[in-house]
């Protein structure tokens, strides 16, 4: 047990953590610098940083959490304003790091267990904290990102070495290649020289370029010493633990695992068998690189808040209820779907709802939108709101975007799906008809991409835009000239936008469904025919689509899959895929098909 020394209290620690109260805690011959934010009466969330960082790595996450919790951060021994052990060798074992954690936890939250959050080496050590018996009862929950337990890792390697199948061998080699820096850090003296020399100087630029970390108050000036001391984290623990992993490394608290899919240092496969070590595991995935506390603070804060609140209150009703296939990816995220009162839009809203997303349902048809939102709540949406807006109306879309940003947050996934049909020959199509179809199908998409896309880009934390194009975008036909033109424009717009936004971590997908059984057949206008003939053709088309009977739910599944995989163009039905292939390899065949009179 340690006592808090030098209650210098209310001074600000650094510019990065504004308003933080610092105190120093002596333990095992060193002094730790501990910063606190928020009301100490609230549940304590303890943030542990990684390598080569100091507690300032959390400077974008901590203020968000401080609104709801008592947030505590500390510099790991030898980093930032904490002092280093003497000698360094042997001073960084996981046992000693556990002592440090207990000292901090006892000082900042003596009566209640703390909620741990660890990134990188902060997560590696936290895994030790949550799996050793002496911390039992001191930890209420643990959120892990980009840092596996060395013991689990050891068993993972062992399993793949002793029974190598081709797949396991590939996984092993993949991770071995990603761990190159670990071998480097085991060489004596060289890493220290590099960090204190050129590497330390260039590191911020490297992070900015390779890891896409926004420039600013991070990394801090203490980086060279943090990194040099921290090398002992690897040297003191990696070899011993990987060679002799503990067999009793079972977590004694609920764990939330946040896996960035673009991590350059850790394979996603490391966590494949984690359920055997963690009885209560919640998985989350995030399309991001390694430094998520810097690049995705909003999302992390939201997930941590949700998890900590659920575990702290122990209320089963607040547990994550979504059971959809991609619940790990879309849980709690904000999704806006236009044209969601029917058809593909509605099915898409439901699919996201099932994955636990918060859904904004937009449609001209207020009643249908409300119905979609209603049902979405019943199947697991974190929340669902209906908004009656015409996507063709720019002012209304601007207003919607303002309202959404103010009340629900920045949209993570935008689905520009609203569209109307128009058939009839070109010469019969009036300019009025053209205007109507372009206003919704093209301008609606442009407004959505422009207004919500800008919000996404300005936030700088990634996102995804899905535009519903059509198989008609590449399949010419003599009956759908206006519709096909509008959808071809959407397809090209999506491709261009994808190129433009790629650098900001925002994906763009164009979905080309094909013949899908929705109400578009009965609402489509037919140019240049009498109302009776229009009605006849509509019901004929509806029956044809009914016989084809491709359900919009399958398109919705394709949309979710496309977002997860960040696909560029997704033809959905077999005929859409077929004509896409023809458009590339046998365009003359498509042109022949275009001349057929269908109805």
């Amino acid at each position: 047990m340690s006592e808090a020394v030098g209650e210098s209290g209310e001074t600000s620690v650094s510019t990065a953590l504004e308003g933080a109260r610092e105190r120093r805690i002596a333990t095992g011959g060193i002094e730790l610098s501990v910063a606190e934010l928020g009301d100490p009466a609230r549940p304590t969330v303890l943030l542990v940083h990684g390598y080569p960082d100091s507690k300032e790595v959390w400077s974008r996450v901590a203020p968000l959490l401080a609104e709801r919790f008592h947030v505590v951060l500390y510099d790991v021994r030898g980093c930032g304003r904490s002092t280093a052990p003497q000698p360094l060798r042997g001073g960084y074992t996981l046992e000693k790091l556990t002592d440090d954690f207990l000292a901090v936890a006892d000082a900042v939250s003596p009566d209640r267990p703390v909620h741990l959050v660890g990134h990188d080496w902060g997560s590696v050590q936290s895994w030790e904290f949550v799996t050793v018996p002496r911390t039992q009862g001191r930890i209420a929950s643990f959120t892990s990102m980009s840092g596996p337990s060395l013991d689990h890792f050891g068993h993972w390697i062992k399993k793949r070495m002793t029974r190598p199948t081709p797949r396991r061998a590939a996984q092993l080699l993949n991770q071995a290649a990603k761990s190159w820096y670990v071998y480097m850090l085991h060489t004596p003296a060289l890493p220290e020289l590099a960090w204190k020399g050129p590497l330390g100087k260039r590191w911020p630029k490297i992070l900015e370029r390779v890891e896409k970390i926004p420039a600013g108050d991070y990394p801090t000036a203490s980086l060279p010493t943090d990194a040099a001391h921290g090398a002992w984290l690897y040297r003191d623990n990696v070899r011993t633990r990987l060679r002799h992993p503990r067999t009793d490394a079972y977590a004694h608290c609920p764990v939330q695992l946040i896996t960035p899919t673009g991590d350059a240092f850790l394979s996603e496969r490391l966590y494949d068998e984690l359920e055997q070590w963690v009885p209560q595991l919640t998985r989350r995935t995030l399309p991001a690189k390694h430094w998520v506390p810097r690049t995705r603070p909003d999302q992390l804060a939201a997930w941590i808040e949700e998890f900590v609140t659920a575990k702290d209150e122990g209320d089963p009703a607040k547990e994550v209820a979504a059971r959809g296939r991609y619940a790990d990816r879309f849980g709690g995220r904000l999704v806006l779907v236009t044209g969601a009162a029917s058809g593909i839009g509605r099915a898409t809203a439901f699919a996201f709802a099932e994955a636990g997303a918060r859904v904004v349902v937009v449609d001209r048809d207020a009643e249908g939108a409300a119905r979609t939102a209603d049902m979405a709540r019943l199947i697991g949406a974190g929340a669902a709101w209906a908004e009656a807006v015409d996507v063709a109306d720019e002012a209304a879309m601007e207003k919607l975007a303002e309202k959404v940003a103010a009340e629900y947050g920045i949209v993570d996934v935008l689905v520009n799906n609203a569209g109307i049909g128009l058939s009839g020959s070109f010469l019969e199509t009036t300019s009025e008809d053209w205007k109507k179809v372009l206003d919704v199908n093209l301008w609606g998409v442009i407004h959505g991409c422009r207004i919500f896309g800008r919000q996404m880009a300005e936030r700088g934390q990634g996102g995804h835009i899905v535009n519903t194009a059509s198989a008609a975008a590449y399949q010419p036909s003599k009956t759908l000239p206006a519709y096909s033109t509008s959808k071809a424009a959407v397809l090209m717009l999506s491709e261009c936008l994808r190129a433009e936004l790629a650098g900001q971590g925002i994906g763009v997908t164009a979905v080309c469904p094909g013949l899908v059984n929705t109400s578009i057949t009965t609402t489509s206008h037919v140019a240049g025919v009498s109302p009776e003939e229009e009605k006849r053709r509509q019901s004929k088309a509806a029956r044809l689509y009914g016989i084809r009977n491709y359900p919009p739910e399958k398109v919705a599944d394709a949309i979710l899959r496309a977002v997860v995989r960040n696909q560029a163009v997704v033809p959905v039905t077999p005929e859409a895929r077929g004509s896409r292939a023809l458009s590339r390899f046998a365009p003359r065949a498509l042109r022949a098909i275009a001349r057929i009179e269908p109805l």
């Binding site: 029917s342 509605r346 439901f350 099932e354 249908g368 119905r371 979609t372 049902m375 019943l378 199947i379 109400s519 509806a542 029956r543 009914g546 009977n549 359900p551 739910e553």
Partner: protein, 294 residues
């Protein structure tokens, strides 16, 4: 909607143009009630771990003990996402499997016993435990019962009524799952069945009933109607007088719900008498009334 009282008085009136007498209607009503009583009794005994086969067997035994010897079709039971016929490709998939019931799972019991020559065909939807979603599906079925009766009274072609029901389902956000039944039927005719000492079944369907259906199909083919109420051209005719077992079936992301009961169609000119539900005192109707009262 017709209330229970008006339905029974309507039924006791003589119907010159329609072959079913009031005694016949009483017989049909009795067996329909018996079937729903069976459904409620079996549903009350369902608990986690019971399989579809066991549930089907429980229905069969319950009805056999009460004198049922022949079937329009043998009892079915569907649990979990099988209530919405997820990934059903061939008709054999309708038969009960070893799927075990779990807490929170929806279920449907569907049986068609023949009792003293009268046929019933009923569907009973329930859920093991509370499910707001399932409650919503059941509540939304009420609009379909009203729509069906209204449009049959208007003598609209059956194919158009079928499409209107489907449109309503889509507007509600559901998928039409009766399309998965053979011929995509929302309803089929039922009739009296001659009682035989030996009543075998063929693929779960009673041979006597199949014979009746086949002869109806033959007559209908000559006269331009069909005993199957489907989305296809052969159903493009006004409602044919007789007894129709109507079964609108909603599906929503792995949850299905239906009711099935008999609609009596006559050729009376009075709209009230031209079509009416055989019985309004059924579990799902009572449920809607209780919800309204609450």
């Amino acid at each position: 909607m017709t209330t229970a009282a008006t339905a029974s008085t309507a039924a006791t009136r003589s119907r010159r143009d329609f072959s079913a007498t009031s005694a016949d209607l009483r017989g049909f009503r009795e067996v329909q009630r018996l079937a729903y009583a069976c459904a409620e009794a079996v549903a009350g005994q369902l608990k986690p771990g019971v399989t579809e086969r066991e549930a089907a067997r429980m229905q069969r035994r319950w009805l056999r003990e009460r004198g049922v010897t022949d079937w329009f079709h043998l009892p079915f039971a569907w649990f979990g996402d099988r209530t919405a016929f997820v990934n059903f490709r061939i008709p054999l998939q309708f038969f009960p499997t070893d799927r075990a019931l779990e807490p929170g799972m929806p279920f449907i019991l569907d049986m068609a016993p023949v009792y003293q020559g009268y046929t019933a065909d009923i569907g009973y939807s329930g859920c093991l435990g509370l499910s707001p979603l399932h409650d919503r599906l059941l509540a939304d079925l009420e609009a379909h019962r009203e729509l069906l009766l209204r449009e049959v009274r208007e003598r609209r072609p059956l194919r158009e009524i079928y499409e209107d029901v489907e449109r309503l389902m889509v507007r509600q956000g559901y998928a039409n799952r009766h399309r998965a039944y053979p011929f995509g039927v929302i309803a089929h005719k039922v009739d009296r069945v001659r009682q035989r000492r030996w009543s075998p079944t063929l693929f779960g369907f009673g041979t006597q009933s199949l014979k009746g259906l086949a002869s109806d199909a033959l007559h209908g083919h000559r006269e331009g109607w069909s005993p199957l109420w489907s989305p296809y051209r052969f159903s493009d005719h006004p409602p044919q007088p007789g007894l129709w077992a109507v079964e609108p079936h909603l599906g929503f992301r792995g949850v299905g719900a239906k009711f099935e009961e008999i609609l009596v169609v006559t050729d009376s000119r009075d709209p009230e008498e031209s079509a009416f539900w055989l019985d309004d005192d059924l579990p799902h109707v009572r449920r809607w009334q209780e919800e309204k009262a609450a």
